[in-house]
């Protein structure tokens, strides 16, 4: 049987910590495996509320200090009872503590208005379910490049600035020197000629 990326330590990849949010047990299991096989650490929770608790944003003290659980990416289902993925996205982007964390929305429904709304609110990407291994790998690479870039910028700023260090910029705000990636940060107002794989795929579906 083929081995798919099972040796994460020798691959030299930095391990991202991903928080996955989905009310479906089946989907949580799948996304967890997709992420682990792509050399990511995973925390999977079943609701937006639990996600906020984990991130320390629910007003109550979380059980562990936030710094220990640095989350590099949040992947959330859109349709969930209670708090939708969109509402979770808004809460995260509305928090000074958390807004830098990239958020990806997953949905089985390819409703353009929904996609636009999410992207407008600051979602990094909108993935149509079922999510595939190639989606996760591409996402991971994109986030990793952003993280590496942040670290370089941050250490550069530390060397050149006095006391005021601006926080590391969000991966989505600096895209000019990213290699051409299928998920280059999308600005809703631009209609680019470049094919956007996700959109094309959505329009092809049923």
């Amino acid at each position: 049987m083929e081995e798919m990326g099972s040796d994460c330590s020798s691959s030299g990849l930095q391990e991202l910590h991903v928080l996955a949010v989905d009310d479906s047990l089946v989907d949580r299991k799948v996304i967890e495996r997709l992420l682990k096989i792509s050399c990511c650490k995973v925390t999977a929770v079943e609701s937006g509320r639990r996600a906020l608790q984990y991130l320390g944003l629910d007003g109550e003290r979380s059980s562990v200090g936030f710094d220990e659980l640095k989350v590099n990416l949040i992947m959330t289902d859109y349709s969930m009872p209670g708090m939708t993925g969109y509402e979770l996205l808004k809460k995260i982007k509305g928090s000074s503590k958390l807004r830098e964390i990239p958020v990806v929305i997953m949905s089985s429904e390819n409703v353009l208005a929904r996609i636009d709304r999410c992207l407008e609110e600051g979602a990094e990407e909108f993935l149509v379910k079922p999510v595939k291994l190639s989606d996760v790998e591409r996402l991971r690479d994109f986030i990793l490049r952003g993280e590496e870039k942040n670290e370089r910028e941050f250490s550069r700023k530390r060397k050149t600035s006095d006391d005021s260090c601006t926080p590391a910029s969000s991966p989505s705000s600096s895209d000019s020197d990213l290699p051409s990636s299928p998920i280059s940060p999308i600005s809703v107002s631009t209609v680019s000629d470049e094919p956007r794989p996700k959109r094309a795929r959505l329009l092809d579906d049923n």
Binding site: M1, M4, S6, L25, K29, R33, S108, P130
Partner: protein
């Protein structure tokens, strides 16, 4: 039985399942996620799907049996079933769910009842077939062989 004979049977059986639309490419995707460190991954996900589906089918039966049918609730259940069947590649179950949701939108009780009947049938069919496929896998492993990949059926 010889390992390669068992493997051939497994491939033949799987080919049929894909050809008849019981399974789609997503099932092959799941198989990609199985390896020595997680040899039972597909079995585990499929088992979760069975548990989830049986609960949902039960809830749907009860919901459609009410005097005043709550279409929102039914739609929510069908949406969940559509999601999980899609996630494991149970294509025929997923397709019935799509039709089912349309009847919910139309608030058509008769249509919903027919779909419920159909989705139960499709569920039982795919369950039986997945269990048969799993038995073939187990025979291969017991005979010391590796389970062939199903990428060609994507």
């Amino acid at each position: 039985m010889e390992v390669d004979q068992l493997q051939r049977s497994f491939l033949e059986y799987s080919r049929l399942l894909f050809h008849e639309g019981f399974l789609d490419g997503q099932f092959s995707q799941l198989q990609l996620l199985q390896d020595e460190s997680n040899p039972d991954f597909v079995f585990e996900v499929v088992s979760l799907f069975f548990e989830d589906s049986e609960r949902l089918l039960n809830d749907l039966t009860i919901a459609l049996d009410q005097q005043n049918v709550d279409f929102k609730k039914i739609d929510a259940h069908v949406h969940q079933l559509k999601g999980s069947s899609s996630s494991i590649g149970a294509q025929r179950v997923k397709n019935v769910c799509i039709a089912f949701r349309n009847f919910c939108d139309e608030q058509n009780v008769e249509g919903c009842l027919r779909c419920l009947q159909q989705v139960k049938q499709e569920y039982l069919l795919v369950k039986t077939k997945l269990e048969a496929q799993l038995r073939l896998e187990q025979q291969i492993v017991a005979a010391g062989g590796a389970i062939p990949m199903l990428n060609e059926f994507c």
